[in-house]
Amino acid sequence: MPEQLLFAMEVTLNGLMAGVLYALVALGFVLIFKASGIFNYAQGVMALFAALTLVGIMDGQIPFAHIINAIFGTELHHFGWHVPALLAIILTAGVMVVFAWLVQKFIFSHLVNQEPIILFMATIGLAYFLEGVGDLMWGSDIKKLDVGLPQGINDWIDITTFEVFGYGFFIDNLDISATIVAIILVAALIIFSQYTKQGRALRAVADDHQAALSVGISLNFIWVLVWSIAGFVALVAGIMWGAKSGVQFSLSLIALKALPVLMLGGFTSIPGAIVGGLIIGVGEKLFEFLIGPMVGGATENWFAYVLALLFLVFRPQGLFGEKIIERV
């Protein structure tokens, strides 16, 4: 087999893995957008915040140490203990639930019935706020996140492909575990929304707020629930991205990468988020591999957007979005 083709195959596989991570962020967007009509720009910052909190809890950092030191002249930094990863993840999930409750209570319950653009701006404000809080709580230095996921090249794939094609593929173990986690997460979400009472209530709210309200579903509770789930999805995404490239500010920028994924898949479709993520992941890696060298590289920054833009011109509601029906 020609070498170019093998490279392309390897790039495609890696693109699929990257796409899974995009899909994870996009999933959080879709959940909130479906249930409350809020286009949550803060999803990426939520992932960053969750990852920062997780690292902070695991290392036993004292929250707000920096500002306490600045005010009182103390020298605080760590509690001096280490929390096991699993417990830390549960605690962080708890923090995200509290965060969801606060967001609903102090922000969005006051903004009910506002125009979508106002809600969107509020989430941008929230993103700034959360970014500041995250940095203030845990410090802004780049942190290493290690929750015990396997990392590095997968030897089995390397050896097998070498035997078959005479060229070993480089696939990161972390990407494989991310894929598995994402599949489990999506399966869990589907089971939750299909077979539990709260899940069905959530789908009812997503379908029609007023009808759901009239049969006795508490909108407030559902919104807190959906923000909590989105917070949990953000936590998972934060763990995966954090383990891959360290916990740092650029983590919040993956939210921007999730936007074209959403456009491609449709804002209201969970399968759309996943398929869109995979298409974008593969597309941008292949484009960078094939066309990138001709135009100076770094095409990954914009390719996803331009692809989504061109696609939307032909299908304005995305791949799986609800058909847009307009009436006067």
Partner: protein
């Protein structure tokens, strides 16, 4: 009592059609202009020019531009940073290619070039709406920044990849480059702001503006009563691009002096200008000024409080600044979703009745 429309009679059509038909508004406007042109240039110093006035005036132009697109025509754009970069690079290429031509020609030309580019990126708006369009404009943002980074022709093959403004003068007064006086920077921006605001005000209250607003309120209904949606949307993109291009050109040549595209015209700029428009008030020229003033003054104020007054480390102050500005934006949206312009409208209402509230 202080603000009233009654007793203000127009006896000619020209009087009836003037930019500010109400006497009080008109005199207030003249007073502001008099202070801006006759008082501030003589007392301004470098700190006030660089930290407050020049960025305020330039952002005000950008905010007017975005307000025309988002506030008047209802097309949300997140590409403002990239569009400002088009203005900046256009003026840079013009300045270096035609050094003998006046800046007063180059800056509007850069605006026209930007208008063309923005119209091109506005084409998808004919098919896509709402948030889909907002995200689509992000494509412009990222693509343009990448383009200006990767194609050396745009930055004249300079080794650092930066662009820096050469020294240029208008009627003998240096307005760009490191030797510019504070008042000269201020004046050139003020002239452009005044013209931009005047044009924007008259466009938005004329037939073009009415068409934009019809499209914003309900595009299908507007189409049925005879507004051509293609023309209305594309003119909004073009006019908005013209203003944003001028803002970008001034931002680079007068304010920054040297710019690197990713840093100066990144996605943050897009959000900053959008914040100005929302906080100031969608669909209001006055709101664009108010929002720009608010967003320019806020960081200056916070920095002075945290670093100057409390003596905290600067990185801590930077984090707090994020928290406070994010929090303020949320508070603002909750308390007054129609922005500062709405507060002014309410104030007028109060002034009209004062001192008898009923």
């Amino acid at each position: 009592m202080f603000y009233r429309e009654s007793g203000d009679f127009s006896t000619t059509y020209a009087e009836d059609n003037q930019t500010f038909p109400i006497k009080f508004d008109r005199y207030r406007y003249y007073a502001v202009l008099a202070v801006a042109f006759l008082v501030i240039p003589f007392i301004i110093n470098d700190y006030w020019a660089n930290a407050v006035f020049v960025p305020f005036l330039i952002y005000a132009i950008a905010a007017i531009g975005l307000n025309i697109l988002t506030g008047y025509c209802g097309q949300v754009s997140l590409g403002t940073g990239g569009f400002m970069a088009v203005g900046a690079y256009a003026v840079y290429k013009l300045m270096t290619a035609f050094p003998e031509v006046s800046m007063l020609v180059h800056v509007p030309l850069a605006g026209l070039i930007t208008a063309g580019v923005v119209t091109l990126f506005g084409l998808p708006s004919l098919r896509i709406k709402g948030f889909y369009l907002a995200v689509a404009t992000l494509a412009a943002q990222f693509f343009l920044v990448w383009l200006f980074n990767k194609v050396p022709w745009f930055y004249n093959y300079s080794a650092s990849g930066q662009i820096s403004a050469p020294e240029r003068d208008v009627i003998g007064i240096i307005i760009t480059g490191p030797n510019t006086e504070a008042w000269a920077k201020y004046m050139i921006c003020l002239i452009f702001v005044t013209l931009a605001a005047l044009i924007a005000r008259n466009l938005t209250r004329g037939s073009v503006g009415r068409k934009w607003m019809a499209i914003r309120d309900m595009d299908i209904a507007a189409e049925i009563i005879g507004v051509n949606p293609m023309m209305a949307k594309l003119t909004a993109f073009a006019v908005s691009g013209f203003f944003i291009g001028i803002a970008g050109a001034l931002f680079f040549s007068v304010y920054l002096g040297a710019a690197e595209v990713g840093e100066s015209f990144g996605i943050d700029k897009s959000f900053l200008v959008l914040f100005m428009v929302i906080i100031g008030g969608l669909g209001s020229i006055f709101g664009s000024f108010a929002g720009a003033a608010f967003m320019v003054l806020l960081p200056v104020f916070l920095k002075n409080v945290f670093v100057g007054l409390l003596g905290w480390p600067t990185d801590l102050a930077a984090h707090l600044q994020f928290i406070v500005s994010g929090g303020l934006i949320i508070v603002f949206l909750i308390l007054e979703p129609h922005g500062l312009a709405q507060l002014w409208r309410l104030a007028k209402e109060k002034l009209r009745l004062w001192p008898f509230p009923h």
